[in-house]
Amino acid sequence: MTALRLLSGRFAWPRRRDALPGFGIGLGLTLLWLGVLVILPLTALMVRPWSGGIHDGARAVASAMRDGRMLAALRVSFCSALIAALADLVPGLLLAWALVRSDIPGRRVIDMLVELPFALPTAVVGITMATLYAANGWIGAPLARMGLRVAYTQTGIVIALMFIGLPFVVRTVAPVLRNLPRDVEEAAEVLGASRAQVVGRVILPALYPALVTAFGMAFARGIGEYGSVIFIAGNQPFHTEIAPLLIIIRLQEYDTRGATLIGVVLVVLSLLSLAAISVLRRCLSHAQA
């Protein structure tokens, strides 16, 4: 009964003043947008492989799971996203630190530049990266003389993904850093902690949940990234072919089911990693509380 009253009270058009003004319409719109923009397409994606019947779909899934090339592409996508997201944490943290704690000249400009990867079309990022890191590019040429190849190798994929992932880290860590109470640090210093100890034992632990969230977002974004990677990857099957490219290849074969299957695998794996990360974050937050 309580539940019913709650439902009727909350979901009906608000007749009396609610604690949250406009809660009904707000929730309605949220659910509508969420449904139309997120849940509906995802459901369509999930349903498509089974359009020929359960048996048929299961066989397609089974054969996809044995497809060495697809597994290789998934491995390339996941490993690259993992390495890139991890590698983003250090420069991301330093950038956030510099933006929050120091008063370097041009701070606002840097602050704006951090967001550029969000705004740039990913294809522009990819082409720029490929131009810079190719054996005749500004960065690629000196590296090539040292015997290092970046463009058209997995290193190239990781670098493109790092560029895409960096703002996630900065934007997640900076607000937490800004809200960190200074008196805790001062207390630690009064109690005789060195600067390194303050950073290592007071500041960093407080940032762990934010860092995990940042890692998770950069990682999830990197798994599905297509535009920025495709130009620098080399796209060699089994070596530098990413899973989203395989989706395009399947579509080009007019094999919609094969394409959706890879999409489903990507979505499921991304959701699983996001769930794992959220559990980890909760553990970390509890450990601090």
Binding site: I127, Y152, P237, L251, E253
Partner: protein, 341 residues
């Protein structure tokens, strides 16, 4: 915060929503009979710009001055075909290979015998696959076997994602089959070795051209003749040379009226006139100007100095697109076999 959904805001919000939705409910009559949509592939941008202008003028003169508005969209041939399949309102398709139009026919968008409705397999301009090499041809590349020499890097896109790359691949395949003692097995071995010399598999022909021209990657670019001529004559005559291999494929990018869409838009007559215009002397001359080989022998003869003599074989000699697609480019086909571990 409490006035987020105040009456004025709410009215504003409703108006904004209505304005946003308005284009969605615009009546279909917007597709008046004098608008044509030509869905084409990548390297034809400049060609159809000129064709569209001249056709529109010719049609207006012949039909009492009502101008035709022609819009042309470009993209990878396969991606373009898929967009038409999924509802892009194309009156005409002018794609990179017949297979992409076959798929539309299979789905009932046009008649199955579409390729017989216009002369020359519905192909107004042909092209061929040539080698683009660095100026002076430093690696001395003359023929297909030269591509397998040690230290030679070949740039060609992925035939799975690029129609142009399928022509490249099939040119190599057909050449290998025509060698003394050539069998599908020797051809497969040739291609496996060839793709071992490909450092980067771009997804489209333009991407491959970029890798070769801008990034300085590779020694040979396998390319459409029209793209290669454009690159050498208009981008950098001092940078590249064209090598025409002794035997190569006759690339036939066909055109067709999409019956179902044209009927729905009431544009069948004008769409038909448009594709026929491509075969007219005016259309053929425009094609030649943009480095496409005209099928009209008289106009081809006028442009002799532009197009080198080539010995070509056509797709029919390889069994036609349906067979080629199934054998080579389907999942698990011969091309996938090249890249097994």
């Amino acid at each position: 915060m409490s006035d987020i959904f105040s009456p004025t805001r709410r009215r504003f919000f409703g108006l904004a929503l209505a304005a946003g939705a308005a284009p969605l409910i615009r009546p279909r009559r917007a597709w008046a009979a004098s608008t044509l949509l030509n869905v084409s592939y990548d390297p034809t941008r400049e060609l159809y710009q000129e064709i569209d202008r001249d056709f529109s003028r010719a049609w207006a003169q012949a039909h009492g001055g009502s101008p035709v508005q022609i819009r042309t969209s470009h993209g990878g041939s396969g991606a373009q075909a898929r967009s038409v399949l999924e509802g892009a309102p194309a009156d005409i398709v002018t794609l990179g290979l017949a297979y992409d139009i076959d798929i539309l026919a299979q789905n009932g968008l046009l008649a199955a015998d579409w390729q017989k409705r216009l002369p020359h397999n519905s192909t107004p301009f042909t092209s061929t696959i040539v080698f683009l090499v660095r100026k002076g041809n430093p690696k001395n590349i003359r023929d297909w076997p030269d591509l397998l020499r040690d230290g030679v890097q070949v740039i060609t896109p992925n035939p799975k994602t690029s129609g142009g790359a399928r022509w490249n691949y099939l040119a190599a395949w057909g050449w290998a089959l025509r060698q003394p003692g050539g069998t599908p097995d020797t051809a497969r071995a040739y291609l496996k070795s060839l793709f071992g010399h490909v450092p980067v598999l771009d997804t489209g022909a333009r991407g491959a051209t970029n890798s070769f021209v801008q990034r300085g990657l590779g020694d040979v670019l396998l390319a459409w003749e029209d793209e290669a001529l454009l690159a050498t004559r208009e981008l950098g005559p001092e940078q590249f040379d064209i090598v025409v291999p002794p035997v190569t494929i006759l690339a036939e990018p066909p055109v067709a009226v999409v019956d179902r869409n044209a009927q729905a838009h009431g544009t069948t007559e004008i769409a038909q006139a448009y594709v026929e215009f491509l075969f007219s002397p005016v259309g053929q001359k425009i094609g030649a100007r943009h480095y496409f080989r005209p099928v009209d022998p008289a106009i081809l003869a006028e442009n002799r100095e532009r197009f080198a003599d080539v010995h070509t074989f056509d797709i029919a000699s390889l069994g036609g697109w349906a067979k080629v697609q199934k054998d080579h480019f389907a999942d698990g086909g011969i091309f996938d076999g090249i890249y097994t571990k």
